[in-house]
Symmetry: D2
Subunit: 359 residues, 4 copies
């Protein structure tokens, strides 16, 4: 099942970059949950391009239209469906992308898988634009989790070699409220990162980086054993985001004696003195913040000429990607990672069974 | 769904470390596939402990008994079921593990999730022993993939800071035939790694590391978009292996110009000049080897006294884990990673739809 | 998972009767399948109301708009999404339906399940209108099945006590081409049935009946054992159609000696002399036509006053359903049953594994 | 997915009639549920053969052995696994069943699907013996449902033309406590049914019938819309029972005015005056008993010679089924139907979301 996710909810994402619309359906959501459309729009705006120097200047208005599932500001029990109509629909000849695949893009693999029937325009179903409906679903789940005290926040950990590690306390609540346009905790390092992006762009190149995400307020006992663990659930959806190539939970120490998180009691509650395990043991939350870090590859679309092949003629050739592209999608991917985490956690919480305690 | 995996096959793993048996059912396997029991046993032996200096000395005979699904050496279309009976079944009092959780283990999270009803003996369902049935399923899938020319191999990339990076060519076929007891490509580095493990053990400590896995011979076009991509599928199952905390695909370069894998034609076949993407673009294989690396945390069971809490009395206390334990599970985890990859790829291949090519 | 169906395809249906739109997403469809929009529209028109004496006179134009998944008349590998915008959107006060539930409708159960947050207008997500997106998905599957020689057809078996049993041969190919407005094989009986519906309507009452469906050209060997059998798959989706309360496969004889279908050879092909099993043994097709019959309950919306309760006040009261309603939905349900069968069979065929034959 | 069932639980059934063992795994069950092994054994005994005149005289001791999931009489959160070892394992030559299929059995369809690799002995995975593990899972679910006041009972409605309809009140609680060897509410009619079975047996023939099942004490609001409705869920599993060919819910009247169940208030609770809908509206329970009826086909194994074909030679031939077989499996199928219903309802209840009520 390709573009479908979830055990207790069923998220289905559809659309192609230049098709009529992109959107999502979200089945299995309980009735009576309030929907704050303003907050959702603000969340969606965080991944929108075209507003600054270090991003592309194309204009996309990601305003979702809900076709079903919400009545008078509350979920009504029926599946939610929302679409974003594309203004920039398919036109012209995109067959070149089928014949001469762009390095680092899914052009070639789509051609092999779909035999030439795929929608090549703008990357089709493989476009980063498909993260917009992911953010609709994730933005809603984030709202609903906040109502039960679970907050999800992510920030840019590094752009290439420019790293933010300025005494960051991963358990701190600040991280869950990072929502700025360029989400880095330290403004000075944020500036350095932006300079690095500008430098790379001026070289007709692109750059990758890492995003760190924290889930705070999550109770202990969430997650299922083995393939239903928190790591498995987050991993499955996070790797569904284009350009993500790495994922790690917590921060591992080399030796057991330094890696193990020892237990303590604080105000009557069990805690760990450190959080190297990223809040998860055996796939199940231990009540500490869930922490993970994803690697985002550099945007494959660069202006430099690159070697490719003409699949029709079988000749080696050179391709130069046209148009304007983000030299770095890391900042825009931050809310997408939050969205993915929110969906995974919401799905797990919904399926969580209340256990009676042994006497 | 906790201990169940797969879209086209359904793998279900059951058992507790000290229960009557551990085992697996595997549904959806086509009829007529040959089963080589000797090869399977050899594969299972690779994860067995107790045979050397750097592993635990407990004896477990992991000999699976097939209860169904195989007739006269071939799958018969009915679900496969196999069990490994435990010789070391539950006895004595394991309630201490419920009261005083071991740091780094799932004792505490199991206690919260299952309210004291969990089987605490030996880690119960969270024990590393549960990777044995995973290896039964994976060992079979590996055999069946080999018949269509797909080979899966993994090796130890590093034990702590002792790293193997001696001119390793990730595309080389050798990696898929690494099957030795201590699976490292260079014997001298293997020795250094074993010395490092011995050193750590003598300090009553443990150590982690990384495993690198390659899948060669896999055709282009395998995988589904978004959440059904090769990365998502491998990630979901790999994170179901206890102690895995990190996973990355390919080897990312900082800049797009160096990270993008340019296309070429070799003997009439499309290839890439490099393989930074780990054989996957847009979640779909491009015909190059699939490459990924997992991080294995240091064994949490160490002899050193550690701070914990008594959940009954609410007091801070000290725990010292008894028994003999692997100071490093990285080498034993190598076949488990291969097994997980084999299951994921087999599931994807089985669900792969033949596409007609556009004329 | 409520409104989602399928193992190899994932159909998700959304919308409420008076919401912004109703629609469906259909994931997992191979690329390169042609889509005949005219044929689809003709199929959808078969379930449309408002065109005759024995149906309601409301006007609904069920013209689907495809938002994704189709490029230049062929599926492109991305999920299909289609919507039908509602012209008759929610307005006015439907809270009476929440307070005083209509007998035979889902008003009361929706109120209990969704706690008053449900969209009560026109039955909301429980409306028969939701069968329109089911027919979009089913109409497409039907086209694709026809290309491999599998035809699906249904007809009215009886309206109340007016039965068509005029020497009907269930194996005949004619049944799969029944597409008329009032799909009964014998025109004289069709007329009697329409007279019966008119009679019932003049009594401010409604009437039910049965629909018989045949799937011809289906090869032997389709279906999975136990819960994945053809009967299970058809049953799950058919019972998702509102108003269906019964389902039986084939036509059972009381005794084994008369019920068993004996084998014969015809032109080198194995056949059965009779087809009491409805083309299915052990959940798997035997190459004979798949035959089943569904019972459709009489429309619950009738003009007669009926006893109900006021859920707010707790008082017994009387309700009289307003508006014009179909006195009999059996004829309109015929294409819906075909659509459901087409989706189930398409899903099974897609997941069918090619078996090598033992030598 | 063939032999796997469930959304919130995952039941997987394995085994062949004459294989090493038959059994089941059941994943997703909460920890802390008590297991009454005596009650389970009594339940399993109800489907056991060999104890009377109207059943086969083969001896099978269906004593399950639990390999995992239960500790000290309570579920421990790990998946449950149970097996029944076969005493009568495969031996001798069953290839005749592959060459000359028995009419009414799955021999032919298994041969086509599994290409000759299937386990033909005793029907293999298609044997009625596979209902024993279904009864293990169902017997447990039944126990757990009883603890929350939900009772499931079934009885024989008719054997051929001998019908029990002696003023039976479908809402009566008696039906849920029918547990006798020949489960018919009226002893005189039970005797007539047994005489009918004896008569048929003396003719070397077999006979079918219907089973009626009631689920009482089930609260309103259980079930999901469309394909996740109570009817769909029960239908999917019930059609997984070999020999079931029909299923209907409630008891339909021809006209809406007589079929609609009007509402009333009784002791402050909403009820319906009748229960024609079988306790389900829109796929969701309304608080009245859930009622359904299944048709069981006559045992295909009869001693009379029947026409078949030799698949190897392509010649028409005659087959005479050897051994002793139940002339009527309807009485033995009664607990199996209860088991199936229990699993379906338990799965739905586990996935049921608590809804806040609108103020």
């Amino acid at each position: 099942m390709s573009s479908t996710y979830g055990e207790n909810i069923k998220l289905s994402i559809f659309g192609q970059s230049h098709g009529g619309a992109i959107g999502m359906t979200l089945d299995g959501i309980p009735a009576g949950l309030p929907v704050d459309m303003d907050a959702l729009q603000k969340f969606l705006n965080r991944r929108s391009p075209g507003k600054n120097d270090w991003s592309t200047t194309r204009k996309e208005a990601d305003v979702p239209e809900f076709l079903s599932g919400i009545v008078d500001g509350y979920t009504c029990g029926a599946p939610l469906a929302a679409v974003i109509y594309n203004k920039n629909t398919r036109s012209g000849d995109y067959d070149e992308l089928k014949d001469i695949p762009r390095p680092g893009h899914a052009d070639y693999t789509a051609q092999i898988k779909y035999g030439g029937f795929q929608d090549a325009a703008g990357g089709g179903h493989f476009s980063g634009r498909l993260t917009a409906p992911l953010c609709i679903a994730g933005g809603l789940c984030k709202q609903w989790l906040e109502q039960v005290g679970i907050r999800i926040g992510a920030h840019v950990h590094n752009i290439g070699a420019v790293i933010y590690d300025d005494g960051f306390d991963p358990c701190a609540p600040e991280i869950t409220s990072v929502g700025a346009e360029f989400p880095v905790l330290n403004p000075m390092i944020a500036e350095k990162m932006q300079q690095e992006i500008s430098r790379v762009r001026s070289n007709a190149d692109s750059i990758g980086g890492e995003i760190e995400c924290a889930i705070t307020g999550i109770p202990a006992g969430i997650g299922e054993p083995m393939f239903g663990g928190v790591e498995s659930k987050i991993a499955q959806i996070v790797y569904g985001i284009p350009a993500i190539k790495g994922l790690e939970f917590g921060e591992m120490r080399l030796n057991g004696s330094t890696n193990n998180d020892c237990y303590t009691i604080e105000n009557g509650a069990v805690k760990t003195l450190t959080n190297h395990c990223g809040g998860i043991l055996g796939g199940i939350t231990n009540g500490m913040p869930v922490l993970f870090r994803v690697s985002v590859k550099p945007t494959p679309s660069i202006c430099k000429p690159q070697q490719s092949v003409n699949l029709k003629t079988g000749e080696i050739t050179t391709i130069q990607v046209k148009g304007r592209h983000d030299p770095c999608i890391v900042p825009r991917a931050v809310p997408v990672v939050e969205a993915a985490a929110a969906i995974a956690i919401y799905d797990l919480i919904l399926g969580n069974t209340q256990t009676t305690r042994r006497k």
